[in-house]
């Protein structure tokens, strides 16, 4: 479903050239639960931006389903993000002024869904993260875990091909971390492809496949046999 072939990302500031990604080849199938792990500067954030269609590779081919994403322009990328990618960020990134409901509704508004259909989908998404009772609260009235659940609901509301989470538990305590990871696991069990970018091995071990980055290259790509998830919960 996701196929990366010889992906390079080169930041050229004029004076210095930085190779953030150096010829990455990667395939992720539908329904996988993947973690991308690496130290800062390893290229994992750049990887996430490219996977999430926020950025284009300097060189190489990226296929998301049938789409040849590396050739897309900004507006086409925006549409792909809207339909195929759900983002979850470390800092939640909710729009502060509006309610949880409206935050979850946003992708559907940009996806041009009718109001009735939007309402139904938002309610379903919020139910999946068990936050129906909080939907009319604004982000500043929610706890960190609740905020991240709103963000997850927003990520999955448009039935994307992949959910891309960038350090989703980085700002959460360990108990809430387990809670959030359990939600990802549950979504994955339902067939959603989940990719988590992290620098914590603990988190990576809760997924099914661990891809390790170093200096812009994949140095290790292994299946995780013993699922730790749920054990500590």
């Amino acid at each position: 479903m996701i196929t990366l072939k010889n992906i390079w990302k080169i930041y050229d500031t004029g004076k210095i050239k930085v190779d953030a990604l150096r010829g990455v080849d990667l395939t992720i199938e539908e329904g996988e639960f993947v973690s991308i792990i690496g130290a800062s500067g390893s290229g994992k954030s750049t990887m996430m931006n490219i996977l999430g269609c926020l950025d284009r590779p300097t060189k190489g081919k990226y296929y998301l389903h049938e789409h040849s994403v590396d050739t897309f322009d900004d507006d086409q990328l925006a549409k792909i993000r809207n339909k195929n990618v759900g983002f979850v960020f470390q800092t939640f990134n909710l729009v502060p002024r509006v309610t949880a409901f409206h935050n979850v509704e946003l992708p559907l508004i940009y996806g041009k869904f009718k109001s009735k259909e939007r309402k139904e989908k938002v309610n379903n998404a919020l139910a999946k993260v068990s936050l129906t009772d909080r939907m009319h609260h604004k982000p500043n009235e929610l706890s960190g875990g609740q905020k991240q659940r709103v963000a997850i609901a927003r990520a999955l509301v448009n039935n994307p091909s992949i959910i891309l989470a960038d350090e989703p538990t980085g700002n959460l305590d360990s108990k809430t971390t387990i809670e959030i990871m359990n939600i990802f696991k549950k979504l994955n069990d339902e067939g959603v492809t989940v990719i988590i970018v992290t620098h914590e091995l603990d988190i990576a071990l809760m997924t099914k496949r661990q891809i390790t980055f170093k200096d812009g290259e994949i140095i290790k790509d292994e299946a995780i046999s013993s699922r730790k998830l749920g054990v500590e919960a």
């Binding site: 925006a78 549409k79 809207n82 960020f89 002024r97």
Partner: protein, 406 residues
């Protein structure tokens, strides 16, 4: 994203910063309302001036000897000329008169008060169809008065009050001094002059009409007349008739091409005044619209602040699928809402204030629908122009940088 959704989002964003939105709007409100006030008072004055000319007689013309040229006795206008023109142009003339103007004064003999100054006009029996005034009591001059050079007079009601301290003075005798000679007149009519917008300059002169034949007698006038006054039938072009009359007169006096006669039409005068008023309104209006530009800059400024403040939000929106156009429209609509609402409030305030101002300074105010529509459209345009740069800046933001923005 659909349009109504964009408006909802924009309104929400503005609502969060209520104070800021209102203050920004204030710039537009002040700009639009001052333009509306200036234009309303300008148009109102123009309307009042036209009205004034209607009192005088909108289709009135006046022919006189052009004393800027060398004028000999053979060139001067005579009573005969007056009769000739009246006959030749009878199908175009609704009312005609000769017009001698001179000053007189009257004394209240009983208690030795200050003399009352009178502007006497010696005119024909048709003069009340040239200048519009209302006969309150009695009658105007008639043909028999003219034929018999009768010493009768039609006076302004204010003169009756000044002279007799009462209004019912028909049949009373009044002595009018002209050049040191007293002339006795019998009052046959009392009239009310039309209300004038233009205030009397200097000493107030009361008005009175006497037959032109009587006037000529008093002035010891020869066969020469100072000028002719005509009210034309409706829909006749005043300037054209003037040209024709001048042609006929020149031919008769054998001075074609020497410009010995000159005519004025009320229409032409009105046009000149209207042009001046238009110019004045335009200039003052242009000055007032500078405040609109300032208002526009205010909007642009606040939108730039808003874009910077919401950089992260823009990043979020882009990450979840907002296109450039979605973001552009969102911010543009915000700017247009500020200026549009500002425009509507400004227009209403402008109409209200021009009414108030009109009451205070006694100039009529006139607000036309076109001005209201133009003002609202213009304020919207200001919003679009002011919003375009900030909105474009927002739309062009790179989602990765925007998401990283602290």
């Amino acid at each position: 994203m659909n349009f109504i959704e964009s408006i909802r989002i924009a309104l929400k964003a503005l609502w969060v910063n209520k104070m800021r939105s209102v203050l920004t709007m204030l710039g537009i409100i002040i700009g639009i309302s001052s333009v509306i006030i200036v234009v309303a008072l300008g148009d109102g004055t123009k309307g009042a001036v036209s009205n004034e000319f209607n009192n005088i007689g909108a289709n009135r013309i006046f022919i006189m000897t052009n004393y800027q040229k060398e004028v000999y006795d053979k060139d001067r206008l005579t009573y005969e000329d007056y009769q000739l023109i009246s006959t030749v142009f009878s199908d175009k003339i609704a009312a005609k008169s000769i017009d001698y103007n001179f000053s007189g004064s009257t004394y209240d003999m009983s208690d030795n008060k200050e003399p009352i100054s009178i502007a006497v006009e010696a005119v024909s029996d048709e003069y009340n169809n040239i200048e519009s005034f209302e006969i309150l009591q009695g009658r105007f001059i008639n043909t028999s008065d003219i034929n018999t050079r009768r010493n009768i007079i039609v006076i302004e009601e204010a003169l009756a009050l000044d002279r007799f301290q009462r209004k019912d003075v028909l049949g009373e005798k009044i002595i009018v001094d002209v050049n040191g000679v007293g002339n006795a007149f019998i009052i046959v009519g009392i009239f009310e002059p039309p209300k004038s917008l233009i205030p009397a300059m200097g000493a107030v002169q009361r008005k009175a009409y006497i037959p032109y034949s009587t006037g000529a007698k008093i002035l010891n006038a020869s066969q020469f007349i100072p000028g002719m006054d005509f009210n034309l039938v409706p829909d006749v072009n005043g300037q054209k008739v003037i040209d024709e009359i001048v042609k006929v007169l020149s031919r008769k006096h054998n001075n074609v091409g020497e410009e010995k006669y000159i005519g004025f039409s009320a229409e032409g005068q009105l046009e000149i005044i209207n042009n001046v008023m238009q110019m004045l309104t335009l200039v003052v209006g242009a000055i007032a619209s500078i405040s609109l530009i300032v208002g526009g800059i205010g909007i642009m400024n606040i939108m730039l602040v808003s874009v910077t403040e919401r950089t992260r939000e823009i990043g979020i929106r882009k990450a979840i699928g907002a296109t450039r156009q979605d973001i552009l429209i969102q911010f543009l609509i915000e700017a247009v809402i500020i200026s549009g609402i500002g425009g509507i409030i400004g227009t209403s305030l402008g109409i209200l204030l021009s009414k108030v101002a009109s009451n205070l300074i006694d100039i009529p105010a006139q607000t036309s629908l076109i001005v209201i529509i133009a003002a609202t459209l213009f304020s919207t345009l200001v919003g679009i122009i002011a919003g375009l740069y900030p909105a474009n800046k927002a739309a062009k933001l790179d989602p990765i940088d925007a998401l990283r923005y602290e």
